[in-house]
């Protein structure tokens, strides 16, 4: 029995890992911008209108960016070369001014943001499918199984076949713009290696110490940064999680309330919702937990809903 649950855990982890491939979606204006940069947008008007929303918004009026959209077709070589040069400059600038870069968006003017960065500002419609599921499934089933490791590995493979199944589109309904924004906020120090900084951000969050120590008054605790960054969000949720593992559900709830207030469009809202259900259960407020679970069903991706359901099932019903 133990092995089965271990096996299903492994499958769950594997699925979660592979499902995170779905995060790889370009910003909505990126394609138009590429077309403009390569001089094949539908005329200068289209080129500028395609990019202007984002560009005007962030006022990325560095020489390279402005010339890029204004006269896309001719002298593309010069423009592209200029752009790469501008990007180099930006790389340096963005690393030096990590928070200002995000703050308010206006400061970006000084940071000479290149169009590529500017377009990331544009809201991203959740319409891109990373790997079209039907096609994927067809390919999976056609897969020449014999060529790959027969046995456990294949078993895992067939188990994974539905990893796009639980609703990739639903997964996209989590606040993707917020994800992007939060990620962008970190981009300054991720210019060269986001992975390193991700690792650095997440585990180095102060554990059991200020500002998020479990003994601290949650009303005083606040994220280190006033801008909503993913790192800060994770800190809050980690603190709540810690409070829960220490059996301090009220504190966890206080932290989660504060998280909900400060990160109303947070990228980690689904995680926070799961934690809230868990905290309510732990605080002997099962009915509230069940009510919340009901409200959340339909708004959260399936795997969160499943997690919440499992939490409720594990908790004893009040008599």
């Amino acid at each position: 029995m133990k092995t089965t649950s271990k096996g299903s855990d492994a499958l769950r982890i594997r699925r979660a890992l592979l499902a995170s491939f779905d995060e790889d979606v370009p910003a909505s204006g990126a394609k138009d911008l590429a077309m403009a940069a390569l001089g094949v947008a539908l005329g200068p008007a289209a080129a500028s209108s395609a990019a202007s929303g984002a560009l005007a918004q962030s006022k990325a009026t560095s020489g390279s960016a402005a010339s890029l959209t204004a006269s896309a077709a001719p002298k593309v070589g010069a423009i592209v070369a200029l752009k790469w040069f501008g990007l180099g400059l930006l790389g340096g600038a963005a690393v030096m001014v990590p928070t200002r870069f995000y703050d308010g968006g206006r400061d970006r003017k000084e940071a000479a943001a290149p169009p590529a960065v500017a377009v990331r500002e544009a809201p991203r419609p959740p319409t891109f499918a990373v790997a079209a599921s039907p096609e994927r499934h067809a390919i999976e089933s056609e897969e020449p199984v014999g060529e790959l490791a027969p046995g456990p590995s294949i078993a895992a493979s067939s188990g994974e076949a539905d990893r796009h199944g639980p609703s990739p589109s639903a997964a996209k309904t989590v606040p993707t713009n917020a994800v992007r924004e939060a990620t962008r906020a970190q981009q300054d120090d991720r210019m060269t290696s986001p992975l390193v900084s991700d690792r650095a951000t997440v585990p180095t969050a102060p554990r059991g110490s200020a500002p998020l120590g479990s003994t601290m008054d949650p009303t005083e605790a606040r994220p280190k940064s006033s801008t909503p960054t993913l790192g800060a969000e994770i800190e809050w949720l980690d603190a709540a999680r810690r409070a829960l593992s220490e059996g301090n559900a009220p504190h966890a709830l206080a932290l989660l309330n504060r998280y909900a207030r400060d990160f109303s469009q947070g990228a980690m809202r689904p995680e926070a919702d799961v934690l809230r259900v868990q905290a309510l259960i732990q605080a002997q407020r099962r009915e509230e937990a069940a009510r919340l679970a009901q409200e959340l069903t339909g708004t959260l991706p399936d795997r969160y809903v499943e997690k919440i359901r499992a939490l409720l099932e594990q908790s004893p019903r009040p008599r």
Binding site: I13, L148, V174, T192
Partner: protein, 214 residues
């Protein structure tokens, strides 16, 4: 499949350095086709971008270009394609673009790896996270970062095969055709990657178990 030139080899073997070319191109009068293209080739390039932008974008990302550089690397891929439009065999556009993406991602990876070495190894720091991993499972961003870590430890050849297979859902023969290596080699690369992923999952699980016991 062998009669078709491998886009990857073509790109990898090409003597030109993209960075150099860019600066050289800026005002050169004898610049070939790319910037002097007629309406038809412009239309073709446009179609290429329109149809394959998302694919190229996610490919360069998955092949190791740091997130902040993905938009630019993607443009670079199409820029290279623009210069070689005539060499792209109709029907093989996607694999051609992927070949270019592999080359550009390899360059980006080298830079990124150097940076990582400079910053010191924070290798698998996430494994020391004291909280139960079960809860971490819902953390998409962390999962993506872990996946990146896993992918970064693969060679570009193994990574290429694995990404096409696991993320793009291609079959082994298709991949073999794209990257011009025997299917057996592709299969063994995928096997290797999967074995590594199993090891990663095992480690994640053991952290989760420790967390639960604590």
């Amino acid at each position: 499949m062998t009669e078709l030139a491998s886009p990857i080899e073509e790109e990898l073997d090409g003597p030109e350095d993209l960075g150099e070319s860019e600066t050289d191109d800026s005002g050169s009068a004898d610049e070939p086709a790319a910037f002097d293209r007629d309406a038809r080739s412009r239309a073709r390039l446009r179609t290429l971008i329109d149809r394959h932008f998302n694919f190229v974008w996610r490919s360069v990302r998955r092949l190791g270009v740091p997130e902040a550089g993905v938009d630019d690397a993607t443009q670079q891929v199409f820029w290279t394609a623009a210069r070689k439009l005539d060499a792209i065999v109709p029907g093989r556009e996607k694999s051609f673009l992927f070949g270019v993406a592999v080359r550009i991602a390899s360059d980006a990876r080298r830079v990124s790896n150097r940076q990582r070495r400079r910053e010191g190894s924070a290798e698998l720091e996430i494994f020391s996270h004291p909280d139960p991993l079960a809860d971490e499972l819902v953390d998409r961003k962390r999962m993506r970062a872990l996946l990146d870590e896993f992918l970064d430890d693969l060679s570009i050849e193994v990574r290429t095969a694995y990404v096409l297979y696991e993320a793009e859902g291609m079959t082994v023969p298709e991949i073999a055709d794209w990257i011009q290596v025997p299917p057996g080699t592709v299969a063994s690369r995928i096997r290797l990657a999967r074995k590594r992923l199993d090891q990663l999952v095992e480690r994640l699980q053991s952290v989760g178990d420790r967390g639960e016991k604590a």
